[in-house]
Protein backbone atom coordinates (compact mmCIF):
# COMPACT_ATOMS: atom_id res chain seq x y z
CA UNK A 1 0.00 0.00 0.00
CA UNK A 2 1.55 3.30 -1.09
CA UNK A 3 1.03 6.14 1.45
CA UNK A 4 -1.30 8.97 0.42
CA UNK A 5 1.48 11.61 0.50
CA UNK A 6 3.41 9.66 -2.11
CA UNK A 7 0.67 9.85 -4.71
CA UNK A 8 1.00 12.98 -6.86
CA UNK A 9 -1.73 15.59 -6.59
CA UNK A 10 -3.63 16.03 -9.82
CA UNK A 11 -3.62 19.35 -11.58
CA UNK A 12 -6.56 20.74 -13.53
CA UNK A 13 -7.34 18.54 -16.57
CA UNK A 14 -5.85 21.16 -18.95
CA UNK A 15 -2.63 21.45 -16.91
CA UNK A 16 -2.48 17.69 -16.59
CA UNK A 17 -2.77 17.25 -20.37
CA UNK A 18 -0.09 19.86 -21.04
CA UNK A 19 2.29 18.18 -18.58
CA UNK A 20 1.59 14.79 -20.12
CA UNK A 21 2.22 16.16 -23.61
CA UNK A 22 5.58 17.60 -22.56
CA UNK A 23 6.42 14.34 -20.80
CA UNK A 24 5.56 12.32 -23.91
CA UNK A 25 7.85 14.57 -25.94
CA UNK A 26 10.72 14.03 -23.52
CA UNK A 27 10.27 10.25 -23.56
CA UNK A 28 11.11 10.29 -27.28
CA UNK A 29 14.76 10.57 -26.30
CA UNK A 30 14.55 6.85 -25.48
CA UNK A 31 14.65 4.05 -28.07
CA UNK A 32 11.47 2.26 -29.08
CA UNK A 33 12.21 -0.98 -27.21
CA UNK A 34 12.86 0.94 -23.98
CA UNK A 35 9.64 2.93 -24.43
CA UNK A 36 7.66 -0.26 -24.94
CA UNK A 37 8.76 -1.50 -21.53
CA UNK A 38 8.96 1.69 -19.43
CA UNK A 39 7.27 4.36 -21.58
CA UNK A 40 3.88 4.60 -19.80
CA UNK A 41 5.15 4.63 -16.23
CA UNK A 42 8.06 6.95 -17.10
CA UNK A 43 5.67 9.39 -18.82
CA UNK A 44 3.50 9.32 -15.71
CA UNK A 45 6.48 10.11 -13.47
CA UNK A 46 7.65 12.88 -15.78
CA UNK A 47 4.17 14.40 -15.92
CA UNK A 48 4.08 14.51 -12.10
CA UNK A 49 7.56 16.01 -12.02
CA UNK A 50 6.62 18.64 -14.63
CA UNK A 51 3.47 19.51 -12.65
CA UNK A 52 5.66 20.15 -9.58
CA UNK A 53 8.52 21.91 -11.37
CA UNK A 54 7.25 23.25 -14.71
CA UNK A 55 10.62 24.51 -15.95
CA UNK A 56 13.73 22.50 -15.27
CA UNK A 57 16.70 22.41 -17.60
CA UNK A 58 18.35 19.86 -15.31
CA UNK A 59 15.42 17.46 -15.84
CA UNK A 60 15.60 17.86 -19.63
CA UNK A 61 19.35 17.21 -19.61
CA UNK A 62 18.92 14.24 -17.28
CA UNK A 63 16.27 12.68 -19.53
CA UNK A 64 18.36 13.38 -22.66
CA UNK A 65 21.39 11.73 -21.05
CA UNK A 66 19.28 8.76 -19.93
CA UNK A 67 17.84 8.41 -23.44
CA UNK A 68 21.25 8.50 -25.09
CA UNK A 69 22.54 5.92 -22.61
CA UNK A 70 19.56 3.69 -23.39
CA UNK A 71 20.36 4.04 -27.10
CA UNK A 72 24.02 3.16 -26.46
CA UNK A 73 22.81 0.15 -24.44
CA UNK A 74 20.63 -0.88 -27.38
CA UNK A 75 23.73 -0.72 -29.60
CA UNK A 76 25.63 -2.94 -27.15
CA UNK A 77 27.97 -0.16 -26.05
CA UNK A 78 26.79 0.31 -22.48
CA UNK A 79 24.39 -0.69 -19.74
CA UNK A 80 22.68 -4.00 -19.35
CA UNK A 81 19.91 -6.03 -20.95
CA UNK A 82 16.46 -4.51 -20.87
CA UNK A 83 14.08 -6.41 -18.59
CA UNK A 84 11.18 -8.09 -20.35
CA UNK A 85 7.51 -7.98 -19.44
CA UNK A 86 7.03 -8.07 -15.67
CA UNK A 87 7.01 -11.64 -14.38
CA UNK A 88 8.37 -13.09 -17.63
CA UNK A 89 11.76 -14.53 -16.66
CA UNK A 90 12.18 -16.19 -20.07
CA UNK A 91 12.06 -12.83 -21.79
CA UNK A 92 14.94 -11.58 -19.65
CA UNK A 93 17.07 -14.53 -20.79
CA UNK A 94 16.29 -13.66 -24.43
CA UNK A 95 17.00 -9.97 -23.74
CA UNK A 96 20.40 -10.85 -22.23
CA UNK A 97 21.31 -12.95 -25.27
CA UNK A 98 20.20 -10.07 -27.53
CA UNK A 99 22.24 -7.56 -25.51
CA UNK A 100 25.34 -9.77 -25.61
CA UNK A 101 24.92 -10.17 -29.38
CA UNK A 102 24.58 -6.39 -29.74
CA UNK A 103 27.81 -5.99 -27.76
CA UNK A 104 29.59 -8.51 -29.99
CA UNK A 105 28.23 -6.77 -33.09
CA UNK A 106 29.48 -3.38 -31.88
CA UNK A 107 32.82 -4.96 -31.03
CA UNK A 108 33.05 -6.39 -34.56
CA UNK A 109 32.14 -3.04 -36.15
CA UNK A 110 34.65 -1.10 -34.05
CA UNK A 111 37.37 -3.66 -34.80
CA UNK A 112 36.58 -3.52 -38.53
CA UNK A 113 36.89 0.29 -38.62
CA UNK A 114 40.12 0.03 -36.63
CA UNK A 115 41.45 -2.59 -39.05
CA UNK A 116 40.67 -0.45 -42.12
CA UNK A 117 42.14 2.80 -40.75
CA UNK A 118 45.05 0.93 -39.17
CA UNK A 119 45.74 -0.92 -42.42
CA UNK A 120 45.90 2.41 -44.27
CA UNK A 121 48.46 3.63 -41.74
CA UNK A 122 50.40 0.40 -41.98
CA UNK A 123 50.31 0.50 -45.77
CA UNK A 124 52.03 3.91 -45.70
CA UNK A 125 54.75 2.58 -43.38
CA UNK A 126 55.26 -0.51 -45.51
CA UNK A 127 55.61 1.53 -48.71
CA UNK A 128 58.23 3.70 -46.99
CA UNK A 129 60.06 0.65 -45.72
CA UNK A 130 60.17 -1.15 -49.08
CA UNK A 131 61.29 1.95 -50.98
CA UNK A 132 63.94 2.76 -48.38
CA UNK A 133 65.33 -0.78 -48.66
CA UNK A 134 65.41 -0.53 -52.45
CA UNK A 135 67.15 2.86 -52.36
CA UNK A 136 69.73 1.55 -49.89
CA UNK A 137 70.49 -1.21 -52.37
CA UNK A 138 70.61 0.98 -55.50
CA UNK A 139 71.92 4.34 -54.22
CA UNK A 140 73.41 3.75 -50.75
CA UNK A 141 74.37 7.42 -50.34
CA UNK A 142 70.91 8.85 -50.89
CA UNK A 143 68.87 6.39 -48.86
CA UNK A 144 66.79 8.07 -46.13
CA UNK A 145 67.87 7.69 -42.55
CA UNK A 146 65.36 5.60 -40.67
CA UNK A 147 64.49 5.97 -37.01
CA UNK A 148 64.09 3.07 -34.60
CA UNK A 149 60.40 4.05 -34.38
CA UNK A 150 60.06 3.63 -38.18
CA UNK A 151 61.36 0.08 -37.92
CA UNK A 152 59.36 -0.77 -34.79
CA UNK A 153 56.15 0.66 -36.25
CA UNK A 154 56.61 -1.10 -39.63
CA UNK A 155 57.36 -4.54 -38.18
CA UNK A 156 55.04 -4.21 -35.17
CA UNK A 157 52.15 -2.95 -37.30
CA UNK A 158 52.75 -5.76 -39.84
CA UNK A 159 52.52 -8.37 -37.09
CA UNK A 160 49.44 -6.68 -35.60
CA UNK A 161 47.61 -6.44 -38.96
CA UNK A 162 48.30 -10.12 -39.71
CA UNK A 163 47.13 -11.08 -36.20
CA UNK A 164 43.96 -8.99 -36.56
CA UNK A 165 43.20 -10.59 -39.94
CA UNK A 166 43.69 -14.05 -38.42
CA UNK A 167 41.38 -13.15 -35.51
CA UNK A 168 38.77 -11.82 -37.96
CA UNK A 169 38.79 -15.16 -39.82
CA UNK A 170 38.58 -17.09 -36.52
CA UNK A 171 35.67 -14.92 -35.37
CA UNK A 172 33.82 -15.18 -38.69
CA UNK A 173 33.90 -18.99 -38.99
CA UNK A 174 31.56 -19.89 -36.07
CA UNK A 175 29.16 -17.07 -36.98
CA UNK A 176 28.98 -18.20 -40.61
CA UNK A 177 28.54 -21.83 -39.52
CA UNK A 178 25.67 -20.79 -37.22
CA UNK A 179 24.05 -18.72 -39.98
CA UNK A 180 24.36 -21.63 -42.44
CA UNK A 181 22.84 -24.04 -39.89
CA UNK A 182 19.95 -21.64 -39.18
CA UNK A 183 19.28 -21.15 -42.88
CA UNK A 184 19.31 -24.92 -43.47
CA UNK A 185 17.03 -25.65 -40.52
CA UNK A 186 13.25 -25.53 -40.94
CA UNK A 187 11.80 -22.16 -40.03
CA UNK A 188 9.45 -19.46 -41.20
CA UNK A 189 10.35 -17.50 -44.38
CA UNK A 190 10.44 -14.31 -42.28
CA UNK A 191 13.07 -15.74 -39.91
CA UNK A 192 15.15 -16.98 -42.83
CA UNK A 193 14.82 -13.66 -44.62
CA UNK A 194 16.21 -11.82 -41.59
CA UNK A 195 19.39 -13.88 -41.97
CA UNK A 196 19.44 -14.37 -45.73
CA UNK A 197 19.39 -10.67 -46.59
CA UNK A 198 22.48 -9.64 -44.61
CA UNK A 199 24.22 -12.83 -45.77
CA UNK A 200 23.57 -11.90 -49.40
CA UNK A 201 24.60 -8.25 -48.97
CA UNK A 202 27.76 -9.32 -47.11
CA UNK A 203 28.71 -11.74 -49.88
CA UNK A 204 27.98 -9.07 -52.53
CA UNK A 205 30.02 -6.40 -50.69
CA UNK A 206 32.99 -8.73 -50.18
CA UNK A 207 32.88 -9.74 -53.86
CA UNK A 208 32.76 -6.09 -54.94
CA UNK A 209 35.63 -5.32 -52.60
CA UNK A 210 37.74 -8.15 -54.00
CA UNK A 211 37.05 -7.28 -57.63
CA UNK A 212 37.45 -3.51 -57.14
CA UNK A 213 40.64 -3.74 -55.11
CA UNK A 214 42.21 -6.27 -57.47
CA UNK A 215 41.46 -4.02 -60.43
CA UNK A 216 43.16 -0.92 -58.97
CA UNK A 217 46.10 -2.55 -57.18
CA UNK A 218 49.07 -1.99 -59.45
CA UNK A 219 51.70 -4.15 -57.75
CA UNK A 220 54.23 -1.34 -57.82
CA UNK A 221 57.27 -1.82 -55.70
CA UNK A 222 56.01 0.23 -52.78
CA UNK A 223 53.08 -2.00 -52.00
CA UNK A 224 55.11 -5.02 -51.04
CA UNK A 225 57.10 -7.88 -52.42
CA UNK A 226 60.86 -7.57 -52.12
CA UNK A 227 62.09 -6.55 -48.63
CA UNK A 228 58.50 -6.51 -47.34
CA UNK A 229 57.65 -8.20 -44.03
CA UNK A 230 54.36 -9.42 -45.58
CA UNK A 231 53.60 -11.07 -48.94
CA UNK A 232 53.46 -8.49 -51.74
CA UNK A 233 50.04 -9.56 -53.03
CA UNK A 234 48.44 -9.11 -49.62
CA UNK A 235 50.11 -5.73 -49.14
CA UNK A 236 48.95 -4.53 -52.56
CA UNK A 237 45.39 -5.70 -51.91
CA UNK A 238 45.19 -3.97 -48.51
CA UNK A 239 46.69 -0.82 -50.03
CA UNK A 240 43.92 -0.81 -52.67
CA UNK A 241 41.15 -1.49 -50.14
CA UNK A 242 42.27 1.40 -47.90
CA UNK A 243 43.15 3.81 -50.70
CA UNK A 244 40.30 6.14 -49.70
CA UNK A 245 41.98 6.92 -46.33
CA UNK A 246 43.99 9.65 -47.94
CA UNK A 247 45.12 13.26 -47.55
CA UNK A 248 44.47 13.76 -51.27
CA UNK A 249 40.82 14.56 -50.49
CA UNK A 250 42.13 17.89 -49.15
CA UNK A 251 44.05 18.54 -52.39
CA UNK A 252 41.50 18.32 -55.23
CA UNK A 253 44.03 19.47 -57.82
CA UNK A 254 46.34 16.55 -57.10
CA UNK A 255 43.41 14.16 -56.80
CA UNK A 256 42.22 15.18 -60.26
CA UNK A 257 45.47 13.80 -61.71
CA UNK A 258 44.55 10.28 -60.52
CA UNK A 259 43.13 7.86 -63.11
CA UNK A 260 39.30 7.96 -63.25
CA UNK A 261 38.97 4.34 -62.14
CA UNK A 262 41.12 4.99 -59.06
CA UNK A 263 39.09 8.08 -58.07
CA UNK A 264 35.83 6.19 -58.58
CA UNK A 265 37.15 3.38 -56.42
CA UNK A 266 38.21 5.84 -53.72
CA UNK A 267 34.63 7.14 -53.57
CA UNK A 268 32.93 3.76 -53.84
CA UNK A 269 35.08 1.57 -51.58
CA UNK A 270 34.07 3.20 -48.26
CA UNK A 271 30.41 2.57 -49.13
CA UNK A 272 31.15 -1.05 -50.00
CA UNK A 273 33.07 -1.44 -46.73
CA UNK A 274 30.19 0.13 -44.79
CA UNK A 275 27.72 -2.32 -46.36
CA UNK A 276 30.03 -5.24 -45.52
CA UNK A 277 30.41 -4.14 -41.88
CA UNK A 278 26.69 -3.39 -41.42
CA UNK A 279 25.76 -6.77 -42.92
CA UNK A 280 28.25 -8.60 -40.71
CA UNK A 281 26.90 -6.82 -37.62
CA UNK A 282 23.32 -7.71 -38.60
CA UNK A 283 24.34 -11.37 -38.96
CA UNK A 284 26.01 -11.42 -35.53
CA UNK A 285 22.95 -9.81 -33.94
CA UNK A 286 20.40 -12.05 -35.69
CA UNK A 287 22.22 -15.40 -35.84
CA UNK A 288 21.23 -16.43 -32.31
CA UNK A 289 24.75 -17.52 -31.34
CA UNK A 290 24.93 -20.21 -28.66
CA UNK A 291 26.32 -19.04 -25.28
CA UNK A 292 29.46 -21.10 -25.94
CA UNK A 293 30.14 -19.43 -29.29
CA UNK A 294 29.27 -16.01 -27.86
CA UNK A 295 31.81 -16.52 -25.06
CA UNK A 296 34.40 -17.64 -27.63
CA UNK A 297 33.72 -14.50 -29.67
CA UNK A 298 34.03 -12.33 -26.55
CA UNK A 299 37.42 -13.89 -25.77
CA UNK A 300 38.57 -13.24 -29.35
CA UNK A 301 37.34 -9.68 -28.94
CA UNK A 302 39.46 -9.24 -25.85
CA UNK A 303 42.53 -10.54 -27.72
CA UNK A 304 41.65 -8.16 -30.53
CA UNK A 305 41.57 -5.22 -28.07
CA UNK A 306 45.03 -6.15 -26.76
CA UNK A 307 46.47 -6.21 -30.29
CA UNK A 308 44.74 -2.95 -31.21
CA UNK A 309 46.18 -1.29 -28.09
CA UNK A 310 49.69 -2.40 -29.09
CA UNK A 311 49.11 -1.17 -32.65
CA UNK A 312 47.93 2.24 -31.43
CA UNK A 313 50.92 2.52 -29.08
CA UNK A 314 53.30 1.82 -31.97
CA UNK A 315 51.57 4.41 -34.17
CA UNK A 316 51.65 6.99 -31.37
CA UNK A 317 55.36 6.32 -30.78
CA UNK A 318 56.03 6.68 -34.50
CA UNK A 319 54.10 9.97 -34.69
CA UNK A 320 55.90 11.30 -31.61
CA UNK A 321 59.33 10.38 -32.99
CA UNK A 322 58.45 11.92 -36.38
CA UNK A 323 57.40 15.09 -34.55
CA UNK A 324 60.61 15.23 -32.49
CA UNK A 325 62.86 14.44 -35.46
CA UNK A 326 61.38 17.17 -37.65
CA UNK A 327 62.13 20.88 -37.73
CA UNK A 328 58.44 21.80 -37.49
CA UNK A 329 55.35 19.93 -36.41
CA UNK A 330 55.08 16.76 -38.46
CA UNK A 331 57.25 18.12 -41.27
CA UNK A 332 60.79 17.71 -42.45
CA UNK A 333 61.02 13.90 -42.29
CA UNK A 334 62.15 12.05 -45.41
CA UNK A 335 59.13 11.90 -47.72
CA UNK A 336 58.92 8.13 -47.38
CA UNK A 337 58.19 8.34 -43.66
CA UNK A 338 56.56 11.75 -43.58
CA UNK A 339 53.93 11.91 -40.85
CA UNK A 340 51.14 14.32 -41.75
CA UNK A 341 47.87 15.46 -40.25
CA UNK A 342 46.15 12.50 -41.94
CA UNK A 343 48.20 10.29 -39.61
CA UNK A 344 47.16 12.35 -36.60
CA UNK A 345 43.50 12.11 -37.68
CA UNK A 346 43.98 8.37 -38.27
CA UNK A 347 45.43 7.92 -34.79
CA UNK A 348 42.43 9.78 -33.32
CA UNK A 349 40.02 7.47 -35.18
CA UNK A 350 42.03 4.45 -33.98
CA UNK A 351 41.81 5.69 -30.38
CA UNK A 352 38.04 6.25 -30.66
CA UNK A 353 37.35 2.86 -32.21
CA UNK A 354 39.58 1.17 -29.64
CA UNK A 355 37.58 2.85 -26.86
CA UNK A 356 34.33 1.65 -28.49
CA UNK A 357 35.75 -1.88 -28.88
CA UNK A 358 36.84 -2.00 -25.23
CA UNK A 359 33.47 -0.73 -24.05
CA UNK A 360 31.48 -3.18 -26.17
CA UNK A 361 33.81 -6.04 -25.22
CA UNK A 362 33.20 -5.24 -21.54
CA UNK A 363 29.44 -5.00 -22.10
CA UNK A 364 29.31 -8.34 -23.93
CA UNK A 365 31.50 -10.13 -21.36
CA UNK A 366 29.48 -8.74 -18.43
CA UNK A 367 26.15 -9.70 -20.01
CA UNK A 368 27.41 -13.20 -20.88
CA UNK A 369 28.70 -13.74 -17.35
CA UNK A 370 25.13 -13.20 -16.08
CA UNK A 371 23.94 -16.07 -18.23
Amino acid sequence: MIPERMIPERESPAGDDAARLRAARLVRWYPRRWRERYGDEFTELLASDIAEQPDSLARTLDVARGGLLARLAGAGLAGCALAGRPGDAGELVVARARHAAAGLGALGAASAVFLVVGAAQWSQLLIGWVWAARLRQQQPGSAPQLLAADRNATFGASAAILALLALAVLAALPVLATVAARLAAPGSPGQRGRLAWPAVTLAAALTALAIGARSVENNWIGTGGLHSPVPGGLAAFIWAVTLFVSAYWAHPGMLAAFPDAERAWMALSPLVLAVAVASAVALVRRAGLSPRIARFEARLGLACCVIMTAFLALCAAWLASAWLASAGPLAGRPALFHAGWINVAGAAVLALTLAAALQSSRTAARTLSRG
Binding site: I2, I7, P8, E44, D62, A64, G66, C80, A83, L92
Partner: protein, 119 residues
Protein backbone atom coordinates in the same frame (compact mmCIF):
# COMPACT_ATOMS: atom_id res chain seq x y z
CA UNK B 1 33.72 -15.72 9.88
CA UNK B 2 36.02 -15.68 6.87
CA UNK B 3 33.28 -17.37 4.87
CA UNK B 4 30.70 -14.73 5.83
CA UNK B 5 33.13 -11.93 4.98
CA UNK B 6 33.73 -13.44 1.55
CA UNK B 7 29.97 -13.61 0.94
CA UNK B 8 29.53 -10.05 2.10
CA UNK B 9 32.26 -8.80 -0.23
CA UNK B 10 30.70 -10.62 -3.18
CA UNK B 11 27.29 -9.14 -2.41
CA UNK B 12 28.77 -5.68 -2.03
CA UNK B 13 30.58 -6.04 -5.35
CA UNK B 14 27.22 -6.50 -7.11
CA UNK B 15 26.13 -2.98 -6.20
CA UNK B 16 29.62 -1.53 -6.58
CA UNK B 17 29.48 -2.85 -10.17
CA UNK B 18 26.73 -0.30 -10.84
CA UNK B 19 29.43 2.37 -11.07
CA UNK B 20 27.96 5.85 -10.96
CA UNK B 21 24.50 4.32 -10.38
CA UNK B 22 25.57 2.58 -7.15
CA UNK B 23 24.36 5.59 -5.13
CA UNK B 24 20.87 5.81 -6.70
CA UNK B 25 20.60 2.00 -6.65
CA UNK B 26 21.35 1.90 -2.90
CA UNK B 27 18.76 4.60 -2.22
CA UNK B 28 16.13 2.79 -4.33
CA UNK B 29 16.78 -0.57 -2.63
CA UNK B 30 16.68 1.11 0.79
CA UNK B 31 13.35 2.69 -0.07
CA UNK B 32 11.90 -0.58 -1.37
CA UNK B 33 13.05 -2.39 1.80
CA UNK B 34 10.06 -0.64 3.38
CA UNK B 35 7.58 -1.99 0.79
CA UNK B 36 6.66 -1.77 -2.89
CA UNK B 37 6.58 1.70 -4.48
CA UNK B 38 6.15 3.25 -7.91
CA UNK B 39 8.50 5.85 -9.42
CA UNK B 40 6.92 8.96 -7.90
CA UNK B 41 6.59 7.37 -4.44
CA UNK B 42 10.22 6.26 -4.63
CA UNK B 43 11.36 9.79 -5.47
CA UNK B 44 9.40 11.27 -2.57
CA UNK B 45 10.54 8.62 -0.09
CA UNK B 46 14.22 8.99 -1.03
CA UNK B 47 13.89 12.76 -0.78
CA UNK B 48 12.38 12.35 2.69
CA UNK B 49 14.90 9.94 4.22
CA UNK B 50 18.09 10.93 2.35
CA UNK B 51 17.47 14.54 1.31
CA UNK B 52 18.32 13.60 -2.29
CA UNK B 53 15.96 14.21 -5.20
CA UNK B 54 16.49 11.52 -7.83
CA UNK B 55 15.97 12.97 -11.30
CA UNK B 56 13.55 10.90 -13.44
CA UNK B 57 16.16 9.76 -15.99
CA UNK B 58 18.61 8.73 -13.28
CA UNK B 59 15.86 6.94 -11.34
CA UNK B 60 14.76 4.87 -14.33
CA UNK B 61 18.32 4.07 -15.44
CA UNK B 62 18.98 2.63 -11.97
CA UNK B 63 15.55 0.91 -11.86
CA UNK B 64 16.10 -0.82 -15.21
CA UNK B 65 19.57 -2.01 -14.13
CA UNK B 66 18.24 -3.32 -10.83
CA UNK B 67 15.35 -5.07 -12.56
CA UNK B 68 17.53 -6.70 -15.21
CA UNK B 69 19.79 -8.05 -12.46
CA UNK B 70 16.86 -9.48 -10.55
CA UNK B 71 17.28 -7.24 -7.48
CA UNK B 72 13.81 -5.77 -7.84
CA UNK B 73 10.71 -6.92 -9.67
CA UNK B 74 7.85 -5.07 -11.29
CA UNK B 75 4.28 -5.62 -10.12
CA UNK B 76 1.02 -5.06 -11.99
CA UNK B 77 0.61 -1.43 -13.06
CA UNK B 78 -1.92 0.67 -11.13
CA UNK B 79 -3.33 3.56 -13.17
CA UNK B 80 -0.22 3.67 -15.43
CA UNK B 81 2.10 3.68 -12.41
CA UNK B 82 4.05 0.47 -11.95
CA UNK B 83 5.16 -0.42 -8.44
CA UNK B 84 8.42 -2.27 -7.84
CA UNK B 85 9.36 -4.50 -4.94
CA UNK B 86 12.61 -5.79 -3.51
CA UNK B 87 13.59 -9.42 -4.25
CA UNK B 88 15.58 -11.71 -1.96
CA UNK B 89 18.67 -11.14 -4.14
CA UNK B 90 18.21 -7.39 -3.86
CA UNK B 91 17.80 -7.58 -0.08
CA UNK B 92 21.01 -9.61 0.20
CA UNK B 93 22.95 -7.19 -2.01
CA UNK B 94 21.65 -4.19 -0.06
CA UNK B 95 22.50 -5.85 3.26
CA UNK B 96 26.07 -6.53 2.08
CA UNK B 97 26.54 -3.05 0.65
CA UNK B 98 25.24 -1.26 3.73
CA UNK B 99 27.33 -3.48 6.03
CA UNK B 100 30.46 -2.53 4.05
CA UNK B 101 29.52 1.14 4.23
CA UNK B 102 28.88 0.87 7.98
CA UNK B 103 32.34 -0.64 8.51
CA UNK B 104 33.91 2.25 6.59
CA UNK B 105 31.81 4.82 8.47
CA UNK B 106 32.64 3.34 11.88
CA UNK B 107 36.34 3.25 11.06
CA UNK B 108 36.27 6.88 9.93
CA UNK B 109 34.38 8.01 13.04
CA UNK B 110 36.71 6.03 15.35
CA UNK B 111 39.80 7.58 13.78
CA UNK B 112 38.28 11.06 13.89
CA UNK B 113 37.49 10.61 17.59
CA UNK B 114 41.00 9.31 18.33
CA UNK B 115 42.94 11.99 16.45
CA UNK B 116 40.67 15.00 16.23
CA UNK B 117 38.66 14.65 19.43
CA UNK B 118 35.27 14.77 17.78
CA UNK B 119 32.67 12.38 16.40
Amino acid sequence: MAHRDAGTSAGDAVLAGFGRYAGPATLILSSLADGAKHGYALTKDVEEFAGVRLAPGTLYEALSRLESQGMIEALEAEDRRRPYRLTAAGAAALQAHLAAQRRATETGLRRLAANWGSA
